[in-house]
């Protein structure tokens, strides 16, 4: 086991003090002189042609400084792929979802801006809409876009091995239909931006974006400026999890355009209700899954068909549908696999990435179905998982799945064994099965998630280490800590590599004028990729310093070590000096040297066999593994479910900061628990009827179980200090664990999330009903 001084320690976050004192500034906290307030005018129809927009009354309102409509943005369209640029900053010819933006105003304060939105008169011709993905795929359904047939935004068909042959050779074949809910990120900070278009042709924005280099490119493309004239300065981010804060939203485009028109800074802050109505929510998916196994429960073949509601624009759906299939071959050995994916447009709000992206849906279906199979075959849920679990490859060897996902480490067996040995599972028989109306149950699950997402061509991730002359360090990366704790982890990586205490490292938040480009905070990529870049940059800076030390002591650089801020000759520890002194020697040597280390991540740049169409190869740099148990109590009278305790064993490679890794696991698990038990947008013809936290029902402090997190260390060779991912594993493993526990408590298999009290009562009634006589 390697000895580290900073890595692996539960060090508090570097931004914690700023956050607990209220000093951390988020986008809405910024204010500039002469700043105006912007507001978006939104459509009252889910599908309608725009006949005319009359802005004259709004423009005459005292205090209104500018109005913009879709026409102001010319021909500009954007989208996730070059082939899917189907969205405009504001709707131009027609609106495709309820509350889509059609205009925006800037005024001297928020109240005037609000009033002005009501004075903009838009004439619409209502069109028939389509709100159900299965209806949308049918011939003759209302067409949301003209450029595709039958609303089919994304469609994939992959086949590895031969599933039909597999099914014919199986002892048992099961077919089930599962449904995942209409859920969303639910960050407490609503999206906000302050934008300034300098009349000299520079854009500066302070947006709440977890992936600031998305908006950087978008603004350059939209406003036809070179990237060097677009500056994104990163405020603190009040939670991300994908979605609206990943990408550029209506408020962002409009703030910049309104600033361009007025020559003044413009601030747009969404209301939480606005965000919940129009957010790039998670795709609800229908998963039809067919699985064949041998008599002993060994998996032979899986064929799943996924129908996802795309909503009104393609956005990230090509990736979502790819992710919904690419990791079905983990964490169990699977020789035959088929994935049919359909993602039709509807007139529902557009969808986007959310923590557990794509993978969580199919893993939920597959892992609950595995328990159904275990029950049918009379095999213990842990036993069936162990029989199928992928072995940890021996050092130097690689495990390859049927769709060419490659693993160098896999701790799934150890995770399963650890959770099986933990009290929740081990002592499950000791729980009183029934007490009054309360019925108890325990469930088990396993999952895998990718770390260090590698997507398409854009992988560049770099770091710069600047050694100040007093021996302190400025660390610059393009990576964003949206709350996950990557800033402290990157500082730990730099400190470990340089041999310094954590206090010596200062990390800068993104400023695209200064920091190196980075893809963004998604796909659990920051620790793996920006982490590797940081380690390399630190190593390079260290090497430069060692050369000055070698000259001073007349020894070779290899003979020198730096540890805990002290530089010394390994064979002669008498020869030593503080790190700060070495920094001064280097900087004042008269050579003109300035110590700057640079590094970029190389994990993500190998050629990839992956395309979304073939489903083959690595979506990630490496893969985490998770096993989980959960205990529930179901009130058989009211249908109320409480998850009382849960244990998660997680192979994140190596927890670089156990406090942060635990926090990520806990947060992911509770976000998932909300999806299992409470959260669901209630829709009426494209309109969200419950766009408030209270009615959307996120978990509160009184709803959460006691959580125990156990670490499984596998030291992945493709991760800085062995690291993989944390948090997207537990958001994936929690739903099947809880659903399996509910089955244990009630005897009912629930296949549609969320499992509300109403659904429980109906299912229990159904179960009690005597079978109809023939």
């Amino acid at each position: 086991m390697p000895e580290y001084s900073v890595i692996g320690k539960p060090i508090p976050r570097v931004d914690a003090k700023a956050k607990v004192t209220g000093q951390a500034k988020y986008a809405a906290d910024y204010e500039l002189p002469d700043m105006l307030w912007g507001k978006v005018v939104r459509s009252p129809y889910p599908h309608a042609r725009i006949l005319n927009i009359d802005t004259s009354r709004a423009e005459r309102l005292p205090g209104v400084k500018a109005v913009v409509t879709g026409k102001d943005f010319g021909e500009f369209k954007w989208g996730y792929l070059p082939t899917t640029r189907d969205e405009t900053p504001l709707a131009v010819d027609k609106v495709r979802y309820y509350a889509e933006g059609v205009a925006a105003v800037a005024a001297i304060d928020e109240a005037v801006a609000e009033e002005a939105t009501e004075l903009i008169k838009v004439d619409y011709e209502e069109l028939p809409g389509v709100f159900d993905p299965e209806e949308a795929m049918k011939e003759g359904a209302p067409q949301v876009h003209d450029y595709v047939k039958n609303n089919m935004a994304v469609e994939y068909h992959w086949h590895f091995g031969d599933v039909e042959k597999g099914f014919s050779e199986s002892y048992l074949v099961r077919k089930d239909r599962f449904r995942t809910p209409r859920t969303t990120h639910g960050y407490v900070e609503p999206p906000a931006i302050v934008a300034y278009y300098d009349p000299g042709g520079y854009i500066t924005v302070w947006p709440s974006k977890q992936s600031p280099y998305f908006i950087y490119r978008h603004l350059a493309a939209c406003f036809k400026l070179p990237l060097s004239k677009v500056r994104v300065i990163q405020p603190f981010i009040g939670g991300g999890f994908g979605g609206t804060k990943n990408d550029t939203g209506t408020g962002d485009w409009c703030a910049v355009m309104l600033s361009k028109k007025t020559g003044k800074p413009v601030k747009v802050v969404y209301s939480q209700e606005e965000e919940l109505v129009v957010s790039r929510r998670r795709h609800p998916m229908i998963v039809d899954i067919k699985t064949g196994v041998k008599r002993d429960g060994t998996l032979v073949a899986i064929h799943h068909q996924v129908i996802a509601d795309c909503g009104a624009y393609t956005f990230m759906s090509p990736l979502s549908m790819y992710l919904a299939g690419c990791l079905t071959t983990l964490p169990y050995k699977l020789p035959n696999f088929k994935h049919d994916a359909y993602c039709p447009f509807t007139n529902n709000p557009a969808t986007g990435a959310m923590r557990g992206h794509g993978i969580a849906h199919t893993r939920f279906a597959a892992d609950v179905q595995l328990d159904m199979i275990a029950e049918e075959l009379g095999i213990d849920p842990v036993e069936i998982r162990l029989r199928n679990a992928i072995e940890n490859p021996k050092p130097g060897s690689i495990y390859e799945t049927i769709n060419k996902v490659t693993l160098k480490t896999c701790g799934i067996k150890e995770c399963i064994e650890k959770v099986a040995e933990d009290t929740i599972w081990k002592e499950r028989e000791k729980r009183k099965k029934r007490e009054g109306n309360i019925s108890r149950g325990v469930g088990f699950s396993s999952a895998s998630y990718l770390g260090g997402a590698r997507l398409m061509g854009h992988q560049a991730a770099a770091a710069v280490i600047r050694v100040c002359e007093d021996g302190t360090i400025n660390l610059l990366t393009g990576a964003t800590d949206a709350g996950q704790g990557s800033d402290v982890v990157l500082c730990q990586i730099a400190a470990e590599e340089l041999g310094l205490p954590i206090e010596a490292i200062d990390i800068k938040r993104v400023d695209t004028a200064v920091t190196p480009v980075d893809p963004g905070t998604y796909g659990s990529r920051v620790t793996v990729l920006a982490g590797q870049a940081t380690r390399k940059a630190a190593a390079e800076a260290k090497q430069q310093l060692l050369e000055f030390a070698a000259q001073t002591w007349k020894v070779n650089t290899e003979d020198i070590e730096i540890r805990d801020g002290k530089v010394f000759v390994k064979s002669d520890p008498e020869k030593s000096m503080p790190f700060g002194r070495l920094a001064r020697i280097a900087c004042y040597s008269g050579t003109g040297a300035v110590i700057i280390g640079r590094g970029y991540s190389s994990y993500g740049i190998q050629p990839m066999p992956t395309t979304f169409e073939n489903g083959m190869g690595n979506a990630g740099t490496n893969y985490s593994f998770t096993a989980q148990s959960a205990g529930v109590e179901v009130d058989m009278e009211t249908g109320q479910i409480r998850c009382v305790d849960t244990t998660i064993a997680h192979d994140c490679g190596r927890p670089l900061n156990p406090l942060t890794v635990e926090g990520q696991n806990e947060g992911g698990a509770i976000q998932a628990l909300g999806q299992v038990l409470y959260e669901d947008f209630i829709m009426d013809k494209g309109k969200t009827l419950n766009p408030t936290f209270l009615d959307f029902k996120m978990a509160r402090s009184t709803d959460v179980p006691n959580i125990k997190v156990m670490h499984v260390i596998t030291d992945d060779p493709d991760g800085p200090f062995g690291a993989k991912e944390a948090s997207e594993g537990s958001i994936t493993s929690t739903p099947p664990a809880v659903v399996n526990a509910i089955h244990d408590a009630t005897g009912v298999w629930f296949k549609e999330l969320p499992i509300t009290p109403e659904k429980v009562i109906l299912a229990l009634k159904e179960k009690r009903r005597p079978p109809l006589r023939k």
Partner: protein
Amino acid sequence: MKQVKLTVNGTLYELSVQSWETLGEVLRDNLRLTGTKEGCGLGECGACTVIMDGKPVNSCLVLAAEADGKQITTIEGLASGDKLHPIQEAFVEHGGLQCGFCTPGMIMSAKALLDENPSPDEEEIRRGIAGNFCRCTGYTKIIESVKVAAKNMQGVK
């Protein structure tokens, strides 16, 4: 416009406010105390929690005019100079925060709880912060932080 006197973090302010302005807006916009966050504006998320005459309130639901003559404590009023309040310290040390947006409100609710009940059990802690949503932590480390803070604050006495 209405004249109000607010004592915020020990300083007396005499302000003219609009009759519809909330305490949260006045704190953030007039006094530039932006540590108090607005998450929903509907009294659901608790991000704007401040302590008014000893009680935790959602500052988005209190009109500034109603706060006339009251003592207000915001997150900015908790630390003494560089020295963090024990609740703040516990949140830092025990991972009681992630993105930090709910944190000011969460800490103010925790403070109001501990002021009234210095040694709450876990259930009382959960109930004490039940009005504050956190989407990042799953609450586990927040509850732990409040437990530690309660213990440390008792040690001081």
